[in-house]
């Protein structure tokens, strides 16, 4: 799309909403989620134009730079901030957009890329470029921001020491959590945008309930003695997975996904982010899980026996903070 075309669009479609989509450190699933709304995409196209969408439209960064401020009505930004290029685009799109929506778990809470905060840049580079058994790198080349070659200077974006969520870099107006956000949530959000019925700034465009609230499984009083992986399970249909001993983050996770994973008999892994009124998803889940992990005659048990019970949780960070380490209270590994 060249400059004339942008100008033309401005004239012919001035009444239409102008959308932009951008991806930062993400897998691309959120881009596909936009199309998961199926035939409703036609309704969206009827009310909106897409100005910028690197995955689908041939448009360059400099075209965005040339737009006047607030040219874009709504920008859906997915992915967390890992490199200087992503941060630059976040700032740029913030300037050009009236409304900024953090789209998907990575933009909202840091997402799975956020687990890289358990290491730093040096450790990540060492594993990726030097120590990996399948990597042949005899010259020990590591990514640099600039390198001189006979033809001139080559540049690469800077790889940051930590991963950040979108709201740690720019001012975000609305949040659409999920990995990826459920199509119903996307449609509700787009509907609210079209009718100009958006809630107050900073709101999460999702329901005020947990995943458990949407899950159809039968829940009784919970008490589990051992933690199981899903393949170890003698599955009882229609019974809460947590009661059957599988770690399911439903109680600590915001709903809106209609508990789709549980419909497929897989436990919730927490992509919706902290449940309403909670600031730290992992801490809430730790608290909930520890409450139901119990044994008879526990009061006579020694500390070591309790520790043994707890040792069944093999990967606490990956379990409790799978999608939200950068926004957790302790947001990265402390190098003591």
């Amino acid at each position: 799309m060249n400059k004339e075309e942008i100008e033309e669009r401005k004239i012919t479609n001035s009444s239409k909403l102008q959308f932009a989509f951008y991806w930062a450190a993400s897998c691309g699933g959120c881009e596909i989620a936009v199309l998961d709304i199926n035939e409703k995409i036609l309704d969206v196209v009827a009310i909106a134009d897409i100005l910028f969408w690197p995955v689908a439209i041939d448009i360059k960064y400099k075209d965005v730079e040339e737009m006047e401020d607030n040219r874009i009505d709504v920008c859906f930004f997915n992915g967390s901030i890992r490199t200087s290029e992503q941060e630059h685009l976040a700032h740029l799109l913030r300037k050009k957009s009236k409304t900024m929506v953090a789209f998907g778990a990575c933009a909202v809470n840091g997402g799975i890329p956020g687990l890289a905060n358990l290491a730093n840049r040096e450790e990540i580079f060492n594993v990726s470029y030097l120590d990996n058994p399948s990597t042949a790198n005899p010259q020990k080349t590591l990514p640099k921001t600039t390198v001189e070659v006979p033809e001139g200077t080559l540049t690469l974006p800077e790889f940051y020491d930590e991963v950040k969520s979108l709201n740690q870099v720019i001012d975000v107006d609305y949040y659409l959590p999920g990995c990826p956000p459920h199509p119903d949530m996307i449609m509700t959000a787009i509907g609210a945008i079209a009718e100009n019925k958006l809630p107050e700034k900073g709101a999460i465009l999702g329901p005020l309930k947990s995943v458990c609230d949407e899950c159809k499984f039968e829940k009784t009083e919970k008490k589990i003695v051992s933690i199981k992986r899903i393949y170890e399970l003698d599955f009882i249909e229609d019974k809460c997975l947590l009661e059957q001993g599988v770690i399911c983050l439903g109680p600590a996770t915001r709903g809106g996904c209609l508990a789709q994973c549980l419909e497929a008999f897989m436990p919730c892994t927490g992509c919706g982010g902290p449940a309403p009124n909670s600031i730290d998803q992992g801490a809430s889940m730790m608290s909930a899980l520890a409450s139901i992990l119990g044994l008879e005659g526990e009061e006579e048990m020694k500390e070591e026996e309790v520790e043994k019970l707890i040792e069944q949780i093999v990967d606490p960070v990956g379990t409790f903070y799978k999608y939200g380490l950068p926004t957790a209270i302790i947001n990265r590994k402390v190098q003591e």
């Binding site: 709201n167 740690q168 600031i279 801490a283 009061e299 606490p316 209270i329 302790i330």
Partner: protein
């Protein structure tokens, strides 16, 4: 003692410890230690909670993030909980939290769970002395920057 000696002593790291003590046992134990005039280090800042089971792991990580060098959770002895099994919940929660802290690079010894009854003023003073010395040895907690709170 010369002035320089005093100055170098002052430079020694003084741990900042937050204590969550249950209303029925540990807090009463701390009270007893006070009324019995038992000496113990002044490094602990006590927060009274109704039960050690009230202590969400979030309180502990929040304390550590906001500059505490150590956290002490005090509850009733097993079987003595005023609310039947609140202290058992606390024990499991803190055990889970400790595994997490280890992954996050924080020494789990910074968090300690202890049972002190209302009649154990002496034990309370001993526990505070012990944890203060332990944390002093571990050194100050590294600052954790939190970009935004929401």
């Amino acid at each position: 003692m010369t002035i320089t000696q005093i100055k170098s002593d002052m430079k020694e790291f003084e741990p900042n410890i937050v204590g969550f003590l249950c209303n029925w046992c540990s807090y009463a134990g701390a009270d007893l230690a006070g009324t019995s005039r038992i000496q113990y280090p002044p490094n602990i800042k006590i927060i009274k909670v109704m039960c050690s089971g009230r202590v969400n792991p979030m309180f502990v990580v929040n304390a550590l993030q906001q500059g505490a060098d150590g956290v002490l959770i005090g509850g009733c002895h097993p079987g003595d909980c005023h609310y039947q099994h609140g202290n058992m919940l606390a024990r499991r929660r803190i055990a889970v939290l400790k595994t997490l802290l280890e992954f996050m690079g924080i020494d789990p010894r910074r968090v300690r769970l202890t049972w002190v009854s209302a009649s154990e003023g002496r034990k309370f003073a001993n526990v505070i002395t012990e944890i203060t010395e332990d944390i002093r040895e571990l050194g100050p907690m590294k600052k954790i920057k939190r970009v935004n709170v929401w």
